[in-house]
């Protein structure tokens, strides 16, 4: 029987004022990004509590992306800076628990940065794909991951999914 391909499930917490709008813009611009991501809109990344992040991993997310405003550009002045500290705290805690800290990442995106958001999502999905499934909930698949990359024949040539390593987005963490 053929092995079921591992498709990462990445949760993206996107700030209403920047990354979520960038995702909207990506749609308008017809920029594609991997369908592995589930976007949750937050009023500000400062709204994110530590427990949201740990619950995501406990309940099956293979990776979590926190996308907030550019530093200095937070609608609420400093919510993204608070989020940055919480993400760092949780990355340390992930290591304590035995999970790879690379499964959690924060990026800073403005509302106009549709392409960088798409690249950030693609990069996150590919990072998680290499790490394999979240062993907490998908232990059975841990050692048997199959590398699959969808190459749709009729895809937009500018699509991020067709060229996932087109551009490495600078990571804040």
């Amino acid at each position: 029987m053929e092995e079921v391909a591992f498709e990462p499930r990445v949760l993206a917490f996107c700030c209403h004022y920047c990354a979520y709008a960038a995702a909207d813009l990506a749609g308008t611009m017809r920029i594609q990004y991997p369908p592995n991501v589930r976007i949750i809109r937050t009023p500000c990344t400062g709204r994110l509590e530590t427990e949201f992040l740990i619950k995501a991993f406990e309940t099956g997310a293979d990776g979590v992306l926190v996308a907030g405003c550019l530093e200095g550009g937070c609608h609420y002045t400093s919510g993204n800076l608070y989020a940055k500290r919480r993400v760092q705290y949780m990355r340390d805690m992930l290591e304590e628990m035995g999970l790879e800290k690379e499964r959690l990442r924060m990026v800073n995106i403005s509302a106009a940065m549709a392409r960088p958001l798409s690249d950030a999502i693609t990069d996150m999905v590919e990072t998680v794909r290499k790490l394999g499934p979240n062993p907490v909930t998908r232990n059975g698949h841990k050692s048997k991951q199959v590398e699959t990359r969808v190459e749709p024949s009729n895809a937009n040539p500018q699509s991020a999914i067709c060229n996932p390593k087109s551009k490495q987005v600078e990571k804040t963490l």
């Binding site: 427990e51 740990i54 619950k55 406990e58 628990m97 035995g98 907490v136 232990n139």
Partner: protein
């Protein structure tokens, strides 16, 4: 208030490794305020224990509960059912809370999930400082309300050691010299003459040596 900080997850996992059903019991008083053992921290530590135990292939079911105060029998009673249906309790209360729960439930192991650190205050968001060593014989009235026992690294009672540099402690340059603070405070309130007094050796018999301390108030006994 009592200030504590959480133990690391591997240590917690090692503490509870013999058990399959664990109650993580939070306390809604001091450790909630110092963000170490309140309802939120119970949720985070419980999730972390579930994740870490699954990764290690350990079968551990974790239940969460937070009561108002772990050092009070009235509130501990509210946890009776939850304690009964679990194999052990990981208390996120201070040391007093852990022992109060343990004394009440003789047949259940009760473990400390926090390191109780000191009696202190919230200095600013996310920063707590020690203010009292509970020495049992308070001398704050002599020193303008600044405790040399807690805040001077050498516990000097008769003036500064002479090692401070730019008003900072020579042992801990990140903290101010307590004696500089005492001098400034006494000057401010016009009590510099108190520094003329020679303080006799402090009576440490009221402090932690000599076993558990006890206070009995006959006027409140019934």
């Amino acid at each position: 208030m009592i200030v504590a900080e959480r133990k690391k997850i591997p240590e917690l996992l090692d503490i509870v490794k013999e058990h399959q059903r664990l109650l993580v019991l939070g306390c809604g008083t001091c450790v909630t305020v110092c963000l170490a053992g309140g309802e939120r921290e119970v949720g985070i530590i419980s999730s972390a224990l579930r994740i870490a135990s699954r990764l290690q292939g350990v079968d551990l079911a974790v239940e969460e509960l937070t009561i108002e105060r772990q050092c009070d029998n009235v509130f501990i009673e509210q946890a009776a059912d939850a304690i009964e249906r679990n194999d052990a309790v990981l208390s996120l209360g201070c040391g007093a809370g852990v022992q109060a729960v343990a004394e009440r439930y003789h047949n259940k192991p009760v473990y400390a999930g926090l390191n109780t650190t000191f009696i202190g205050i919230l200095e600013e968001q996310g920063i707590w400082t020690e203010k009292c060593a509970a020495c049992g014989a308070c001398v704050l009235h002599e020193y303008g309300g600044i405790c040399p026992v807690t805040r001077c690294a050498k516990r000097m009672l008769n003036g500064p050691c002479g090692g401070s540099r730019e008003d900072r402690c020579e042992v801990r340059p990140d903290v101010p010299c307590a004696w500089q603070l005492i001098y400034a405070r006494l000057k401010e309130i016009g009590q510099l003459d108190k520094l003329q007094r020679i303080a006799p050796p402090k009576d440490w018999s009221h402090s932690i040596d000599g076993g558990q301390r006890l206070i009995v108030r006959q006027d409140h006994r019934i």
